[in-house]
């Protein structure tokens, strides 16, 4: 589609040449992404090598921040918490989400109403539902403690957010609760592309429900599972709002994730360089998650025998 050289004045070239047109069309999006995403990303890595504080530009100090973090037991605790949080929450989100998707795929009365209701936890701002959980997990007035006491399982209140392991349980529970709708609805969308005739054939062959799930549903769903779970893992790993609203990292740092720790160090204590080092330390984990996604996609293309698009 290149204009012939003789007619091409500079202006014409800018209007017709698709490379130039593409450039103009891309400009607004690229501008935002470069100025407010790529540049800060690089700046963050740079800042992790400086001793920047709030109100004072930093000087290059090499890997001192990282050396400091290596000896920091709170940092390692936050890494442990983040991994625990991500792994446990993702496994449960996947298992319950897939189960819910399979249930929703059945013929049900009030189907659309139920499906719409299931998505509500995903719509409501995370911090606000986290506040509701904060209240549900209150140390004195928790409705869970009350109910358990009422049916006689326990005789005193559970200190949900005051005890380290209970606090971890509580935030992981809230995260699973928040993540299930996304997993369930996207997997449901995948399930509906599976042809029922496959199940009919399997039934005639005498397959059990579990065999049908294992041999038909799961393999056909694998590609979409790969993408959904990558997103889920990514957003769980970098979670901030839920912890901040429920525990602020407490009790005694037991629920600090890397994101909340970096906020505390950088914004509250003012050590921007150290906070940036914690954020930067998250990048390798994110890259690992993206690689998994990429291989998942490759596999999908291979399954469907596609080469492009």
């Amino acid at each position: 589609m290149k204009a012939r050289p003789r007619q091409a004045t500079g202006w014409n070239r800018l209007k017709v040449n698709r490379d130039w047109l593409g450039f103009w069309f891309m400009l607004p999006a690229a501008g935002f992404l470069v100025l407010f995403l790529a540049y800060p990303l690089g700046l963050g890595v740079w800042m992790s090598f400086t001793d920047t504080r709030i109100g004072r530009p930093g000087v290059f100090i090499g890997i001192e921040n990282y050396e400091w973090l290596l000896d920091d037991s709170i940092f390692w605790l936050s890494v442990f918490n983040t991994l625990l949080y991500t792994i446990v929450a993702s496994v449960f989100k996947f298992a319950i989400g897939l189960y819910l998707a399979i249930l929703l795929n059945e013929n049900l009365p009030f189907k659309s109403l139920i499906r719409a209701a299931v998505l509500i936890p995903f719509i409501v701002p995370t911090v606000l539902s986290a506040l509701a959980f904060w209240w549900i997990f209150d140390s004195q007035f928790s409705i869970i403690s009350w109910s358990l006491k009422h049916i006689g399982v326990i005789d005193h209140n559970i200190n949900f957010l005051g005890d380290a392991n209970w606090a971890r349980f509580s935030v992981i529970f809230a995260n699973i609760w928040r993540g299930i709708p996304f997993v369930a609805i996207t997997l449901l969308a995948g399930l509906q592309t599976v042809s029922p005739s496959l199940y009919e054939a399997a039934t005639i062959d005498g397959a059990t429900r579990w065999q049908m799930f294992r041999r038909i549903t799961f393999p056909l769903l694998t590609p979409i599972i790969a993408v959904v779970m990558t997103f889920s893992v990514l957003f769980t790993f970098t979670d901030f709002q839920l912890i901040w609203a429920m525990t602020r990292g407490g009790p005694v740092n037991a629920t600090h994730l890397m994101a909340t720790l970096s906020y505390q160090r950088a914004i509250i204590s003012g050590f921007l360089g150290e906070g940036a080092a914690i954020s930067t330390a998250m990048i390798p984990f994110l890259l690992a998650a993206i690689m998994v996604s990429w291989f998942g996609l490759q596999r999908r293309k291979w399954q469907q025998g596609e080469t492009n698009d």
């Binding site: 593409g22 407010f36 189960y99 819910l100 007035f141 901030f240 906020y263 999908r300």
Partner: protein, 307 residues
């Protein structure tokens, strides 16, 4: 784009009436009611109850009088006998809630509009202009989608401060598009690919410019996609927390989620009523929007994982 996700029919996801629905109904007679009750309705009932309980609890707390909130022995805590509007009244008339609501709306609408315009142009260019390197740019945008705000907020805070945007709504209006543009570009690329290329070729032969093709042919056909992108971006803006927490300082400039977390959380033992009223009031606008556009939400969500 022939893959699993693009075969997904959004209406079918919601109503369950997939093209094959009549076949699948043919199999369900094999299950007897008691079995169905245990295998389907019971687990479904439990999961849905757990998913919805926090909202019931939120709403109930918001209308419970204080003494019933803290006294769980005399009155059954799962119900209230004397509903009160005190907490909601306090929220609406004694706090900055209307201002926060206005801030959030303003920021969400501006950021969303900017993002949609930028994304429409970018998605069209990537899908249809196919300039040199378009595929690489598409991949880069997908990667940008995967960069989470929680590793960007520290350097962004210094950038925002340097540009003199700190504590102004522009700090968020300009930074939210970095979250929204990758998502909506990706979503719109999927929609634009479904528009027949022949329509554009006809227009090109008739002498239409690219701009005319975009505004007169592509956009009108992509309206459902635009609505999906719009409401989903709006929800993301409303949901966003860490940037709003970091870049805004004065009480009256805050967005709803940040303000409720910061301004209502005090040592008061009677805070729960107004806190839950705030959480409810912060969620309701989105839930109402959602109720009107359920299908578009689902299409945006499944579009988000579409490759």
């Amino acid at each position: 784009m022939t893959d699993v996700a693009s075969k997904i029919d959004v209406k079918a996801v919601l109503s369950g009436s997939s093209p094959q629905a009549d076949h699948s109904e043919g199999m369900s007679y094999l299950q007897r009611l008691p079995k169905r009750l245990v295998q389907l309705y019971l687990p479904l009932g439990i999961i849905v109850t757990i998913l919805l309980f926090p909202f019931y609890w939120m709403a109930l707390t918001a209308i419970k009088p204080d003494e019933q909130l803290l006294d769980m022995d005399k009155v059954n805590p799962f119900w209230t006998t004397a509903p009160t509007l005190k907490h909601i009244e306090k929220l609406l008339f004694e706090s900055h809630y209307p201002e926060w609501l206005w801030n959030t709306m303003l920021i969400a609408v501006c950021a969303t509009l900017i993002s949609i315009v930028a994304s429409v142009l970018a998605a069209y260019a990537i899908v249809r202009l196919r300039y040199r390197g378009a595929q690489w740019v598409g991949g880069a945008i997908f990667l940008a989608y995967l960069v989470p705000p929680s590793i960007l907020f520290i350097p962004l805070a210094t950038v925002v401060y340097q540009y003199g945007l700190f504590d102004s709504p522009f700090a968020l209006i300009l930074t939210y598009p970095t979250i929204l543009i990758p998502f909506s570009t990706w979503l719109l690329m999927g929609y634009f690919k479904t528009i027949p290329y022949e329509l554009e070729e006809c227009a090109l032969i008739d002498g239409a410019s690219r701009w005319q093709i975009l505004t007169k042919i592509v956009l009108p056909l992509a309206v459902p996609g635009l609505i999906s992108a719009f409401i989903f971006c709006f929800t993301l803006c409303w949901n966003e927390f860490i940037y709003a927490l970091t870049f805004l300082q004065s009480v009256q400039n805050k967005t709803v989620p940040v303000a409720i977390v910061n301004e209502f959380v005090d040592g008061d033992i009677y805070r729960w009523g107004s806190l839950m009223a705030g959480a409810l009031a912060g969620s309701l606008p989105l839930v109402i929007l959602y109720a009107f556009f359920v299908e578009h939400y689902v299409s945006a969500m499944t579009g988000a994982v579409k490759e």
